[in-house]
């Protein structure tokens, strides 16, 4: 009886994770081990002998390395600008840097074409340049901009924790400001840099919207898997491509995981005095300022041009105002809008609550297989969205679990994709929690369950709000995993935008995007409110933990 009570809940989570994480993953791997109806490594052999496939891997990895490097550098510059200088433009940069949170990557791609395309407002109309926008360069630029939020938060979380006394000690020993930055501050931030690099690498590998829209001829493993599945329904090749892609992602994630643990064991002390500003020389300051200004201008430009594209007739005809693109919403969009809000709300409630429950089980209630549970919950984060989508499409379109076509499969998929977020935020909440209060509750005779509901939950509420809203925002934007699961009855906005983009209806896509951004922006507003009660430092810590969406 006691053991049932103790192990019942973990066993239930194990069962669910096996069914909805391990089973679809294995289905894809098994499918890739199939060639023309026979089992064997035929598909892989076929792939590895084709030069285009080698080029595909090289392209994907190079672009991921490039984006990871550039976005980490950009994140570092912006982070130093905001937290280490007293420059007046910090607010603007801070605003620009959270924009990618509400603008989905493929929407940025649209406005990017609008501004810098072959007939773009800036490149063609203003400067009369003709450059080939549809190439890997555009993918690199857009991913760098898009991932800068993540890198900024990860680096900032470490940077604000750097003890100003350490920096002062260096100053007292005669170091100038540049030496303080390069020999004291940056080495201390290194774990944050490495984490930012690895996460960006992972996200770039898994990103499929950006190369699809602006890549032109440039294909990645993720886009090719999509084309193979949607174009010719070649499940074996699509699965093999996705499996290769996942191997890269798992390696990057494993390195990130190790790095994170290392950076945690290397604990930075709580800030005592004010922010430790650096008085950098004029040259360095002006470099930082120009990076910050350029970044903010481009981000704001991209945001504004989404609205321009939504309210003007079409690129070729100049800028004439129209409501036309929004007409599609009452005709087909209400359904998607309602679905988006409902699905995202359900997802964020479930993931935040159960994320905390699982974190509590893993860290406070000892049971066999705790590490395995930890791994299974976190795994979906390392799995590329398209891989997970293919897995769900293949695994759940036959009995015993016939879920395809239902709204449940969409929600289940987003829940398990977002669960790592809830789990990690729960974990970090529990780590910051004072153990003695829990112990006091248990010593006074309350059970673990009672302690959870009466002590942990109320104390964690403000932090939970932040992570819930974050989960809400990321699930409104989800595309890669859902593209294979959507049927006429359960459409969501992100897929509507993608479809309109593929059809070439830029105006409709932009109109849908405006709506999606308003839904997400409402969420960001809530984060800001919730954040007021948690304080800047812990909010950054938490947000940096959550940058895995």
């Amino acid at each position: 009886m006691l053991s049932l009570k103790k192990f019942g809940l973990p066993a239930l989570f194990f069962l669910l994770l096996f069914v909805f994480v391990a089973y679809p993953t294995l289905t894809v791997i098994v499918k890739s081990y199939e060639y023309k109806g026979q089992s064997g490594f035929g598909t892989y052999l076929m792939l590895f002998t084709k030069p285009y496939f080698i080029g595909l891997i090289r392209g994907s990895v190079l672009i991921a390395l490039g984006s990871a490097f550039c976005s980490t550098l950009l994140g570092l510059f912006l982070s130093i600008l905001v937290f280490k200088t007293g420059l007046p433009m910090r607010k603007l940069v801070l605003f620009a840097v959270v924009l990618p949170m509400i603008i989905p990557g493929f929407v940025t791609s649209l406005s990017y074409i609008f501004l810098f395309g072959r007939n773009g407002l800036i490149t063609f109309k203003l400067l009369n340049l003709s450059w080939e926008i549809y190439s890997w360069r555009s993918v690199l630029i857009l991913q760098t901009l898009g991932f800068s939020t993540t890198t900024f938060f990860l680096i900032s979380a470490v940077l604000v924790g750097v003890n100003s006394q350490t920096e002062n000690a260096a100053r007292n020993l005669g170091a100038n400001e540049w030496q303080v930055l390069t020999t004291v501050t940056l080495p201390l931030v290194r774990p944050g840099l490495a984490a930012a690099f690895l996460l960006s690498f992972l996200r770039s590998m898994a990103d499929f919207g950006t190369p699809f829209i602006v890549g032109g001829r440039f294909n990645t493993l993720a886009t090719m898997a999509y084309t193979k599945l949607i174009g010719t329904y070649d499940t074996a090749t699509a699965s093999a491509l996705s499996t290769v892609l996942m191997v890269f992602c798992l390696i990057a994630f494993w390195l990130y995981f190790r790095m994170e643990r290392k950076s945690q064991s290397f604990r930075v002390e709580r800030q005592l005095g004010g922010a430790g500003l650096l008085r950098l020389p004029l040259l360095h300051r002006s470099i930082l300022v120009s990076v910050g200004v350029l970044f903010s201008v481009v981000m704001l430009g991209l945001l504004i041009s989404v609205f321009l594209a939504a309210f003007t007739r079409h690129l070729g005809a100049g800028l004439h105002f129209t409501w036309d693109h929004f007409r599609i919403i009452p005709q087909q969009g209400w359904n998607s809008i309602i679905n988006t809000i409902i699905f995202a709300s359900i997802t964020c409630l479930i993931t935040t609550f159960f994320g905390l429950v699982i974190a509590y089980l893993v860290s406070r209630v000892r049971f066999p297989g705790g590490r395995l549970l930890d791994l299974l919950v976190t795994l979906p984060f390392a799995i590329p969205g398209t891989f997970m989508g293919i897995g769900y499409a293949l695994a759940f379109n036959r009995p015993p679990l016939l879920l395809s076509g239902t709204w449940a499969i969409v929600v289940i998929c987003t829940v398990f994709r977002e669960l790592p977020l809830g789990f990690r935020s729960g974990d970090s909440i529990l780590k910051q929690q004072e153990r003695s209060i829990e112990q006091a509750s248990e010593n006074l005779g309350d059970s673990k369950t009672g302690t959870f509901f009466r002590i942990i939950l109320p104390m964690a509420r403000p932090a939970l709000m932040v992570s819930a809203v974050y989960a809400y925002i990321t699930s409104t934007k989800t595309l890669g995993a859902l593209i294979f699961l959507i049927t006429p009855g359960n459409k969501v906005l992100s897929v509507d935008i993608f479809e309109a983009t593929v059809r070439g209806d830029v105006g409709n896509a932009a109109a849908f995007s405006v709506v999606l951004m308003m839904i997400a922006a409402g969420g960001v507003g809530l984060i800001a409110l919730a954040g007021k009660r948690t304080g800047v430092a812990s909010r950054f810590k938490l947000l940096s933990k959550l940058q895995i969406g």
Binding site: I113, G117, G216, G231, L315, G316, A317, N335, E499
Partner: protein, 345 residues
């Protein structure tokens, strides 16, 4: 004991017989009285056709049946139907390339339905055994953006043979035959007209001018509309200029042969709302439905209704006698050859 068992037995027998009789009689009465809508008044469609929202609304007005639809390319529909074979998620496949419907018929993904209105459709635009029926035909031509053409100092292309001119390098946009019916018809149509060897050589030179390929057949025309490219190879080139009266866009029906294929409607095998699906097919082929379809997407109709202004009739065009049965069956081979020949896409 024996008696009681017998009584139970005969009771079961009675219940069984009555249900059987009821079932048969209801089925008979249905076939006599025409099709009644299903109890659930909804219809789910995969659509590769322009203006689906308008069509859905008009059909609902007429019948009270609510239409839910998802738009995608015909290759995508085929992929989805295959994936959902054991548990179909949709009732109707509406629009796209006839080649994909021919494949779907072979794979038993669609079901036969002899709509009484099929007699209005010319035989070359429908399947003999009723699996699919063309609601309109799609013609392939060019959309030319005059402004961009002038800026780049280019000549107006009039024929397919003009597209291989090196001066058009990187100014032509087209779609990918892996996913687009328009692109597949272009490739196979060229092969039919020029023969295999000369056809591929021609395509080699044409694709040199096209920097990359779009997934959807309608996207290249929209890129020409947006002024991103001078020329887009597009289905129904008269369509976009009609909808965007101010745009500097001119449709070109190539003088050396216009390619065309029927755009069919079909019921899905195992549809959850079969009667609603049949009503929809009847309606599409009725004079009233044909006018609605034309208003939604100004295509050349397959029945004898008057065309809208700006829409050419079948006799106005130099149509190639495109053998859609042959090329529909050869699709996989041709696409594979395409992929091997043009690995850059």
């Amino acid at each position: 004991m024996m008696n009681r068992e017998k009584i139970v037995d005969s009771k079961i027998k009675f219940i069984f017989q009555t249900t059987l009789i009821l079932l048969i009689s209801s089925m008979l009465s249905m076939s006599v009285m025409g099709i009644e809508p299903d109890s659930e008044k909804v219809l789910s469609m995969y659509v590769a056709y322009g203006g689906p929202d308008f069509i859905a609304r008009e059909f609902e007005k007429e019948t009270g049946i609510k239409v839910k639809y998802l738009t995608m390319s015909s290759g995508e529909v085929l992929a989805r139907l295959r994936a959902e074979k054991s548990n179909p998620q949709t009732d109707i496949w509406f629009g796209g390339g006839s080649d994909a419907f021919i494949r779907a018929r072979e794979e038993k993904l669609i079901a036969a339905y002899h709509s009484p209105n099929r007699k209005n459709v010319k035989p070359m635009f429908r399947d003999k055994e009723g699996y699919w029926t063309g609601v309109s035909i799609v013609v392939v031509g060019f959309l030319v953006n005059q402004e961009r053409l002038k800026q780049k100092g280019l000549k107006q292309p009039e024929n397919w043979s003009d597209l291989v001119d090196p001066s058009y390098r990187n100014e032509i946009m087209a779609s990918n035959p892996n996913t687009s019916g328009t692109a597949y018809t272009t490739v196979s149509g060229v092969l039919q007209v020029m023969g295999s060897e000369k056809g591929w050589q021609f395509l080699d030179r044409m694709y040199e001018n096209i920097p990359f390929l779009e997934k959807s057949g309608s996207a290249p025309g929209k890129k020409a509309l947006a002024g991103e490219f001078a020329i887009g190879i597009a289905p129904d080139p008269h369509n976009l200029p009609l909808r965007n009266p101010g745009a500097p866009l001119v449709p070109v029906f190539p003088g050396d042969g216009v390619l065309a294929w029927p755009s069919p409607v079909a019921m899905i095998n195992g549809a959850k709302h079969p009667n609603n699906a049949k009503l929809f097919i009847d309606w599409c082929l009725s004079p009233k439905g044909q006018v609605v379809l034309m208003k939604a997407s100004p295509r050349v109709p397959t029945t004898d209704v008057k065309t809208l202004k700006g829409v050419p009739g079948v006799s106005d065009l130099n149509l190639v006698a495109y053998d859609h049965l042959k090329w529909g069956a050869a699709r996989e081979k041709v696409v594979e050859k395409f992929n091997d020949r043009y690995p850059q896409y």
